[in-house]
């Protein structure tokens, strides 16, 4: 038998459970990552070195090292220190789900911060001039004009980041979580059919990727309609 369909069909429930885990990891990482990315992105456009440099160093170090290294540092590395093991945070830091979410959130925050900073820098000067002309304070300028405009225009690039993040969550299987890849690993070792197991996982990811692309197209139509080419 060249391709064993029955094994794939029998283990579909396991894969669907994996999809839920993958989506949970993705949503948690994105929510916390974006929450962290907004202040970081604002720091990255600051002209004051004291403000800009720490954010630059953070994004540079995170973007320059592999995700696997960051995950290992948190999950295996931190246990080296007695102080960490004695702290109140240890029950969380020894938990694979928590570590995976934390590592993913930190990773995506660095990439999203750079995307947001790039978007903030390319804001049309007229928008700022108009806000100043009506007498907005600095805070109001950021809250009402700069951030909404930058976040909208960051949407196409951010959609790429979200898809990269979906793919990154597959690393959770390395720290024992049963996401889609983890389900495939289980199936592969149970039946010794790695080809069927991983091709199915690949199809699930492909499906999720297409859904995300579609959702972002809709989001762009909703929030970036003013930049869309005019219809004839």
């Amino acid at each position: 038998m060249i391709f064993d369909y029955n094994v794939v069909l029998d283990s579909l429930p396991l894969y669907f459970a994996g999809v839920l885990v993958t989506l949970k990891l993705l949503v948690i990482a994105l929510v916390f990552g974006l929450a962290l990315a907004v202040p970081l992105g604002l720091m990255r456009v600051s002209k004051q070195p004291v403000v800009n440099f720490p954010a630059w160093l953070y994004t540079y170090a995170i973007r320059g090292t592999p995700m696997l290294v960051q995950l290992y540092l948190l999950y295996y590395g931190l246990a080296q220190f007695e102080a960490v093991r004695a702290s109140v945070l240890w029950p969380y830091l020894s938990n694979a789900t928590f570590c995976a979410c934390l590592a993913f959130a930190i990773n995506t925050s660095a990439y999203s911060a750079e995307i947001l900073a790039g978007s903030l820098k390319t804001i049309p000067p007229g928008e700022i001039e108009a806000a100043k002309a009506v007498g907005m304070s600095r805070f109001k300028l950021y809250r009402r004009i700069l951030l909404p405009s930058a976040l909208r225009r960051a949407l196409p690039q951010y959609s790429n980041e979200v898809i990269m993040m979906l793919h990154t969550t597959s690393l959770a299987s390395v720290v024992t979580l049963i996401d889609i890849t983890g389900a495939a690993k289980t199936v592969s070792s149970q039946y010794y059919l790695p080809f069927e197991a991983y091709i199915t996982a690949g199809l699930f990811y492909l499906g999720l990727t297409f859904i995300l692309v579609r959702l972002f197209k809709l989001a762009e139509r909703r929030w970036l309609a003013y930049l869309a080419p005019r219809k004839a």
Partner: protein, 229 residues
Amino acid sequence: MLNGYGATILDGVWLTLQLSLLSMAVAIALGLFGASCRLSPVKWLALLGEAYATVIRGIPDLVLILLIFYGGQDMVNRIAPLLGYEDYIDINPFVAGVGTLGFIYGAYLSETFRGAFMSIPKGQGEAGMAYGMSPLRVFWRILVPQMIRLAIPGFTNNWLVLIKATALISLVGLQDMMARAKSAGDATHEPFTYILAAAAIYLAITSVSLLVLRYLERRYSAGVKAMEI
């Protein structure tokens, strides 16, 4: 240095670099091929290139690596007996790593190269044709040299992502820098120290790459007027 594990980790660095460079060579070849397929007027070739780029970019690297390394090995050994080959075929993780990463990043590069080819003014290729060059010669003499300049920013990105993706090959048993740092950490019960050292080396490699590629970008753009907006 590092309780005597320094030397083994440095050996791993060399392996990581070899893996990255060879994979990139494969990826460039596949990327060029993929891009020319996608730009080809032959419909089924264009469709094939499009399918390659879309499917590979839609699946995580880790899953593709596991699929090709374990699944590919399994498939080869299921098909080989049908062709009358009885011995068990064992795939070396380094060879599988180069093939897999090259195959994955070929898809990403085909996107970069396609964009770069499309930005070359059409007249360039037409002028080559008018001189009586064959299509292949127009491709190599006229289009590729101009495409390089346009492709460098995208290429830089892909190269950095590729270096970081090599760490994943440690998961299928290649003794690269990542795997060695991990096992040194396990052996000495000081995982943080060793993994942090690996992180520092990755950061150094990506930083040097960035500097070199920025220099190349400036060099290749020497004849192009920079516009300040």
